[in-house]
């Protein structure tokens, strides 16, 4: 049998080892998140899934993807305070990179855009950084456009944990932190990146794009055009076998 913690006033069951976010998603409860992916070890860098956790030791803010679920924990997530924080974090990500949604091939399938729409982000809020970031079209099958990179490290985690290739790694520090690829030339073409890699599938935004399939699905019929990210995240979450998929 499993223990429970409280999420926004309702009990959520969990199994030991689950984080608050994992337990919430498996119970059909959504907490907005971005760098978390059910197939990889969570690391809590985007901070979008931040919640307020109250326990006997007092209350603190924590990334729910890395916060271990504990019996008796009282978690506040769907509050104006937390959603205001998430809107600001999403705005920061938009301001940090070069995101031109109308011309982006990922528009409609982009987690950052979908999250912003779901949270009610209307503008970047901050002055844009307009960073000078390179475009790498060297690879025969991929376009690498780091203008849109949100540094979630999903490609990095997929490439090392699943593909065992380490094609993508981070370099730099602070605001100059950036994605690099595993080749002396710095070009994607000189790595062993391949179409069959897991890392080719996980980019939540439009950095790793497959060539020759652009705009295959018309805008308006894309993933997040159909249903908001909050609903789709629950569809993707691993669930106990006795629960049917999807709650919408």
């Amino acid at each position: 049998m499993s223990d429970t913690f409280v999420l926004d006033g309702e009990d959520v069951p969990f199994v030991p080892g689950q984080s608050v976010l994992q337990a919430a998603l498996s119970a059909g409860r959504y907490i907005p998140h971005l760098c978390y992916h059910p197939e990889f070890k969570p690391h809590g860098s985007c901070k979008v899934c931040t919640v307020k956790a109250n326990s006997g030791l007092g209350s603190r803010y924590a990334s729910s993807c890395t916060l271990p679920a504990q019996a008796g924990l009282e978690v506040e997530s769907a509050t104006e305070e937390m959603n205001e924080l998430r809107r600001t974090l999403v705005q920061m990500l938009f301001a940090e990179g070069n995101h031109f949604c109308p011309s982006c091939e990922k528009s409609g399938s982009c987690a950052l855009q979908a999250l912003g729409a779901d949270l009610g982000v209307m503008t970047a809020g901050f002055r844009h950084f307009y960073p000078d970031r390179p475009l790498d079209a060297s690879h025969p099958d991929f376009l690498l456009d780091s203008n849109r990179c949100i540094l979630c490290q999903l490609c990095m985690r997929a490439s090392s944990e699943v593909d065992h290739k380490h094609v993508f790694v981070l370099s730099g520090r602070g605001i100059t932190k950036h994605l690099i690829v595993n080749s002396a030339s710095g070009r994607l073409a000189d790595t062993d990146f391949a179409l069959t890699d897991k890392a080719a599938e996980v980019c939540p935004v439009g950095v790793i794009l497959k060539k020759r399939v652009g705009f295959a699905v018309p805008i308006g019929q894309r993933r997040f055009d159909q249903r908001p990210i909050s609903a789709q995240a629950l569809d993707d979450a691993p669930r106990p076998s006795d629960t049917s998929r999807g709650t919408a």
Partner: protein, 627 residues
Amino acid sequence: MTQTLQTILARHQFEPTRLLQILCDVQEAFSWIAPETITALASALGLPRARVEGVVGFYSFLYSDAPCRYRLLFSDNITDRMLGNQALITYLCEKLWVERGRISEDGLAYVETTSCTGLCDQGPALLVNGWAIPSLTRERLDMIAELVLAQTPVEQWPRELFAMENNIRRADILIGNLLQPGDALRAALFAAPPLGEAAESAANARSWREGLPAAEHGSMDLLEEIKRSNLRGRGGAGFTTGMKWEACRNASCEQRYVVCNADEGEPGTFKDRVLLSTQADLLFDGMTLCAYVIGGGGRGGGSTHGFLYLRGEYRHLLEPLNEVLARRRSAGLLGRDILGLAGFDFDIEIHLGAGAYVCGEESALIESLEGKRGVPRNRPPYPVTHGYLQCPTTVNNVETFCAAALVAAHGGDWYRSIGTAKSAGTKVLSISGDCARPGIYEYPFGVAVSQVLADCGAGETLAVQISGPSGVCIAAPEFGRRIAFEDLATAGAFTVFDTSRDMFEVARNFAHFFAHESCGFCTPCRVGTAILRATMDKIAAGHGTLHDLAEIERLDRVLNQSAHCGLGHTACNPTLDTLKRFRPSYQRRLKSLVFEPAFDLDGALAAARRMTGRDDAGAHLSMEAET
């Protein structure tokens, strides 16, 4: 692969966890880390090439852009600025005919700034290829420029250029201790049954995990003394040392680590530099005592190994410290069967940092020790159970280990009787800024700021920054407050500003510091510190508005709620503290508008005015809208 590279790799046993140490050696040997060197290192160490490149890219003192014979980095703490470092930078650039921030065409010189180098009491300072030079003047820069232009190797530069003062102005129980090397260790070890028969029988006894043998009382007793002393960590957070050691001792693992955090990066702090220069034996006694406690007296608790993580800026202390370690090994104070206690094995090695303030955070420091990018880990688990290589690890500040050695020598009750009820013992302060006698001052906890100011010869004091940018800034009405965990907790920095100073510029310098030092792991700190820096620059340029001040408060909220570590949590503190206490220095820079564009449209027309030779009213945008 070159012979030099091969030698460096062999010195580090081709060990990937020593990647940062290898890179430091490569940087020193070749003046840069060339792309082909990265490839060679990666293949020799069995690491993905990009991982090596990613580590190089993280640390400020590792360069992969181009070779450069002399890298001259001026310390850019606010105290260096107050002592005129900006003019000196320009002066040196002119002398060397280089552009700041760009390697000269012939690859000879590079002049830039770096975060505080821990020489605030004898600034302005710079690092030349990692070696610190204090007390810069134009005359000294003339000499430096000549040496650079003559291409004299740094090791042949006159020693007086590198001469450093300890500036100890007030010593108390720690700095004034009369202990000989190993005294504290002997006091603790031989509070247990003395050597000879008892030690031998103890060596044959079962481990403390199975049942307490005779000598085991030694380490338990010492732990009790440390707990009784009420000693708290001196690095800033103030965690109870005894509890930390006990948790580490109780964690189950065959291997344990003692780590001394000598990554003293907080701007305005330099007391660890002086402690490392004058109290190295006391520090190593303290680390060895810690090993004794957490390793259960050497028997049954598995083996214990020590690291001293020395900030790259203190490169000049590496050889002297290694000499102390060598002397201690030959004196039986390190190595196998320390002081003849069978099974009590412990040794210490020194790892160098490479210019990353965030590595002062203990879990980032451990990542760095493992040869990785210094990114703070997710916690729990904490280092006491899952630290270096996932083994139980005790990380303490230099001063904490020194204090622990004093406790071992004189007892917990004695130590607790000094200071205040909640803050036992003394605190070593690094005092700099506007005062007649900057330097090191050791006080019992509870001393008032006003007392400290009087002692160091500060007059007309406007503000004091306590514990550096991540601490708190106080103004004159608060000078009655006390240095203690219960009032003004501090890691030791005490920076004095007199009434001639502009506190907005102080805060702006600190905002630049945090943006430069953010590791970039989490969104709020990576982007937030950059936004704060841009906002402060915008205000400095005369484009600030009341809206910007409100935005800074919002940023602070976001960083406090969601930043991954203390760097982000405290990044807005200097701005908010000075905004609260010295608001006029912000307000006089603001235009009295709710909105003011960062872009100066009329200014952008200046070029057109020059070209047309016009400067009449019609050639300017109307300023009437501004009221």
